[in-house]
């Protein structure tokens, strides 16, 4: 887990997950919502995406 809660990092994670076949529309929605989220909500979403990315990559 990283402490990076920036929007740029979120966008990067979204790009990576889309490469893994994730739903681009949904993940883009989270990027759109970023400014409206609290720090805690950002942390949860970024942690969630990191965890998913790690799990999907581990399948290969």
């Amino acid at each position: 887990m990283t402490n990076n809660n920036s929007k740029e990092y979120l966008e990067k994670l979204v790009v990576e997950l889309c490469k893994e076949g994730e739903d681009k529309e949904e993940l883009s929605l989270w990027v759109d919502l970023y400014d409206a989220l609290t720090e805690d909500e950002r942390t949860k979403i970024i942690f969630n995406l990191e965890k998913e990315l790690k799990a999907l990559k581990a399948l290969k």
């Binding site: 883009s28 409206a36 909500e41 979403i45 965890k51 998913e52 799990a55 999907l56 399948l59």
Partner: protein, 225 residues
């Protein structure tokens, strides 16, 4: 579509049987890797759905149980009209459309966020407000236009009166929320053929023009300073 018909559809959606596996049936059941991949995605999406639920509560300013039954107030993010306990729209709960089709994860979250719209006044466009996306305001609320028409017919006169009082007291940011709301209503007016609704809400829009005037005056004042 009448409100009774909407209610029937809503009840029907509540009775829709949920697939407990929540697995995309386009996935080959004989392919364990594809199944595992799907499972990871579903788990992650459900976790994000929980976060979206938190966001809705935060926007609404209260949990479902704590929702005020009546009253009208402005929060920093929204205009909140409490006319009854809020509930998540059935599509968000079940992850399916009323016709039983599985929703995409994006649509599921959109429906959930639209629950916040319901909470905060049956279509005041809060989803769009928090994202700053005017298109989303219109899209999100228009899909609930029929429901809103019913709402305005039922609660309109009281809400209009309260809105005008609120507009007078509103701070600059809150006035912006009201203006976004007004624009949304105008858009809905353009989309509907319902004469009674047009008369009722059209009257309100005209009266709330004062909010726009106040807003413009404030902007001019700020520019001078």
């Amino acid at each position: 579509m009448s409100f009774d018909e909407i209610e029937k559809l809503s009840n029907k959606a509540s009775e829709t049987k949920i697939d407990p596996t929540n697995i995309d049936h386009n996935i080959d059941p004989e392919n364990p890797e594809a199944l595992k991949k799907q499972e990871i995605k579903e788990d992650a999406q459900n976790e994000r759905f929980d976060v979206a639920e938190d966001v809705v509560e935060r926007i609404a300013g209260c949990t479902q149980e704590e929702t005020p039954k009546t009253g009208l107030r402005l929060t920093s993010n929204s205009l909140n009209i409490g006319v009854g306990p809020w509930k998540l729209v059935p599509e968000a709960v079940h992850g399916k459309t009323m016709a039983g089709e599985k929703l995409s994860s994006k649509d599921r979250i959109m429906y959930l966020l639209m629950s916040a719209v319901n909470v905060t006044g049956y279509g005041l466009g809060v989803t769009g407000v928090i994202t700053g996306d005017k298109k989303m305001v219109v899209a999100g609320t228009l899909s609930y236009a029929t429901y809103q028409i019913w709402f305005w017919k039922k609660f309109g006169p009281k809400v209009i009166k309260d809105l005008i009082e609120l507009a007078k007291k509103a701070k600059i940011r809150q006035r912006q929320q009201l203006i976004i709301f007004l624009r949304t209503v105008e858009q809905i007016l353009e989309e509907t053929d319902d004469v009674e609704f047009q008369r009722l809400v059209g009257g309100m829009v005209a009266r709330l023009e004062t909010v726009k005037i106040l807003e413009n005056e404030q902007i001019k004042k700020n520019d001078k300073q």
